[in-house]
Symmetry: C2
Subunit: 151 residues, 2 copies
Amino acid sequence: MRWSELDTANCPIARALSILGDRWTFMILRDCFSGVRRFEGFQANLGISRTILRDRLAQLVRAGILVQRPYQERPVRHDYVLTAKGKALNGIMLMLGEWGRTAVAGQPETQIRHQHESCGHILTPYVACAACGEEVVAKDVRAVRAFGRTG
Amino acid sequence: MRWSELDTANCPIARALSILGDRWTFMILRDCFSGVRRFEGFQANLGISRTILRDRLAQLVRAGILVQRPYQERPVRHDYVLTAKGKALNGIMLMLGEWGRTAVAGQPETQIRHQHESCGHILTPYVACAACGEEVVAKDVRAVRAFGRTG
């Protein structure tokens, strides 16, 4: 099947990007997975304007990726916590980091890795197929049109 | 280790995003993985301005993700082909699509899936750990500082 035959509106990647949007959104999500929860924490890490940060956090809350949770009553203060839908972005973030680590030149001597706590090793993530368990490489995947609501 | 202790400049995710940039870049890459190679093909699929498309394609070429290859001599015409560095983005794109498919509401009845040709099944991709082969979930990963050039 040629790409031109596929309806873009049916594309799950386009749908994902319609929410994830831009680089700042990804950077905020990176912070979320590292345990940052407070507005001031995101701001200190990312150094972006409060207006942009407020806007992107509000988008992530509207999309159901983050949820606001009060941690203080007077005055009311909220932090931002990943929902199940947000935690499901984990694989994307790990693969982004792995590509940044292995493919982008100029790595410094020290860099952030992840430890896979259930086995204890430094994590080298790869994408596998749920049906056969093998690593999935680009030449082995072919776009097809599927019917019915899934997931 | 707390996020605030980690140097952002050492973050592989930040490094990946410094190249991948914005939504259009991801959408162009989606098309590349679907076999689109020509300027006019990207433009027809994405419906973006020729200026933006030219700019993003040039960025992807400079970053070594796409390479220009002549397919016609008079006048000279190039198409855009994924390099090995570009093909290594496959896992990110598959995980973006999987999240779009399973987490974003409002899927149409027909949608794009991928077939894993080496086993024949419709692909449900997941991220696994190269050391133990198990699926990697968010609660099992912990950021650590690693030393030395790797990858």
